[in-house]
Amino acid sequence: MSAVAADAQHGEVSSQGSHTGPMVVARGVEYAFGTDANPKPILKSVDFTLEPGEFVILTGPSGAGKTTLMSLIGALRTVQTGSIKVLGTELEGLSPIGQRDVRRRIGFIFQDHNLFDALTAFQTLRLAMELIEPHPSYDEALVRARAIMEPLGMAEELNSQPGQLSGGQKQRVAIARALINEPALILADEPTASLDQGSAGAVIGIVRERITRSRAAALMVTHDTRLFSVADRVVRMEDGRVTDSN
């Protein structure tokens, strides 16, 4: 049995976008950095829900706790207090392997592209596709890669390495990597920061299309007020609390 297949026993790996019920339910979430003796609270009794098909923007001043909340929802940090249920899995008390399996169903878009300089765009996407079972063949992977790269205006760059791409193009490859497995949940941190307005619109369009087509959901941290209009809901955070959600 392959290690990936073995890992699949601990959770759903390939059931991309098939979740029903709320995508994220956070209740009474608190989180603090620092030591037990000298904790520095970041999140204070946060309640948050993300429904299937929803595109939510998370905004607020620096230090409000947006990134920490996002990393908790992404199972990148361990829940300290409260409950977070993501794609039907309770994260509180979840083992590292269980956390990893949840992450496999999430599409992460980071502010930096974090691409391997030695891999072409196609190799990057194919590597990501190996996380789903069954592994797509080379030809299947190529079809999927073209399908995701074309709307991003990157179909001609499948064989390009990051060093041959502009900053915006690299970010589009990173976005394609996050979306290639049709994740049920998309977590994005300022994904359009390095893109021009046209590219940013294309990216948001693709995310929107994914959400609509597969009843996925997206949570995006951004300060770009131009994007607020395309979101279903804008959640504001201040000082570790959700202050507004409409």
Partner: protein, 399 residues
């Protein structure tokens, strides 16, 4: 942070598990190679560093085995089933002769086809150009049959049956005058005709060898006694029975061995009497340490340069074992590339050492396998040490 466990079985399981997880992700096969070869200058520098370490290990191992094999050379060229020598002769470079009567007595033992006495004596070979006399080892035996494998038996027997003829060991150190077939060589102030050449090789004590018939040696010293006897057993006789017959029928002033036993005894004596195993072992260890540090440094830099990328893979859900596989693949590439370079350097070094010392320094399949296993182990261990940095990569820091 993940801790490395020192138990070999756990270590092996860890490597195996990493490779298994890695290879199960099919399209990633070759990813480690792609990553580490992206910067060819750095890769070549890494190969060179590891090649130096591999060369050091090869040279140390080659010197050790060359020295041991040279010391035990006589045991490895014996043409017979058993060897008998004085019980006092605890190693081949101890010159305790046998009582010549024992040779005759052994001839009469049941199961013995024949016994060929071998004599040896230090003699002086004069250089006709400089008139300098250099010490040389003379080996002698009855020319009817060869007790040692030193060349074409027919040619050697024909040459030695000619009176006052010597055969010169062409692998002797180049300190002697050039020998020409048919010309004269002066040994212990007596003229001999050079009848041809043999292949033996010197050891750390003797620079060169001449072979002559026992009759020629008796001309110098009629009282010379055999240093050993090479026994051939009769057809159908059982080796251990013959050995038992000899032991029971002769006094206990002799020792009797098979050639393999004699070779083994000589190696053990050499290793036990001088700390050469330890000294060359230290040398190999130095090579291993140099290689490990080089490999660790290269892989550590590779990891640090791509820490955010590795953290991204962890965030996406790739397992720690998969990341290990990437690093192990890089380590194996370093091992293979560095080993290949080191093998070439070692081949050149061996040729130079053999030329300068005339020791039996050779690259064997065994030494290639042994050094490759060391090099691969060294690089994989360095990779797993460097991997601790990947384990410390926190995907939460990406946000």
């Amino acid at each position: 942070m993940r801790k490395l466990v020192s138990k070999p079985s756990v270590f092996a399981a860890s490597i195996w598990g990493s490779l298994g997880a890695y290879l199960s992700v099919r399209s990633s096969f070759g990813m480690g190679v792609r990553l580490i070869s992206f910067n060819p200058i750095r890769l070549l520098a890494a190969f060179a560093g590891i090649a130096v370490a591999v060369t050091v290990m090869f040279v140390e191992l080659g010197l050790l085995t060359g020295l041991l094999n040279s010391q035990a050379l006589m045991a490895s060229v014996i043409r017979g089933e058993l060897v008998v020598m004085s019980e006092a002769r605890t190693h081949l470079h101890k010159w305790d002769n046998m009582n010549p009567i024992r040779i005759n007595q052994i001839t009469a033992v049941e199961g013995v086809e024949e016994i060929i006495p071998v004599y040896q004596r230090n003699m002086g070979l004069r250089d006709p150009d400089t008139n300098a006399v250099r010490r040389i080892l003379a080996l002698a035996f009855p020319p009817e049959d060869l007790p040692i494998a030193i060349g074409d038996p027919e040619v050697i027997i024909q040459a030695l049956t000619t009176p006052n003829t010597i055969l010169f060991d062409r692998r002797s150190r180049p300190i002697y005058a050039e020998m020409v077939i048919g010309e004269e060589a002066e040994i212990n102030d007596q003229p001999y005709r050079v009848g041809g050449f043999v292949d033996l090789g010197p050891d750390i004590i003797h620079d060169g060898i001449v072979v002559m018939s026992d009759a020629s040696l008796f001309g110098h010293d009629p009282n010379v006694r055999p240093i050993m006897g090479v026994i051939r057993i009769s057809e159908g006789a059982v080796l251990e029975d013959v050995r038992g017959n000899i032991v029971t029928s002769l006094p206990d002033d002799i020792s009797i061995f098979t050639p393999d036993e004699l070779h083994r005894r000589e190696i053990e004596f050499t290793l036990g009497s001088a700390p050469i195993g330890f000294l060359f072992g230290i040398g190999m260890l130095a090579g291993l340490v140099i290689g490990s540090i080089t490999c660790y440094q290269i892989l550590f830099n590779e990891i640090v340069d791509r820490l955010r990328q590795y953290a991204t893979l962890k965030a996406m859900g790739f397992s720690e074992m998969f990341l290990r596989g990437v690093i192990v693949e890089q380590a194996l590439l370093l091992a293979v590339g560095g080993f290949a370079g080191g093998l070439v350097f070692a081949w050149v070094s061996y040729a130079y050492i053999a030329n300068r010392t005339a020791l039996a320094v050779k690259i064997s399949a065994g030494s290639i396998t042994f050094i490759f296993v060391l090099a691969a182990g060294m690089c994989i261990a360095a990779g797993l040490l460097a991997l601790r940095r990947v384990s410390a990569a926190d995907p939460a820091e990406l946000y």
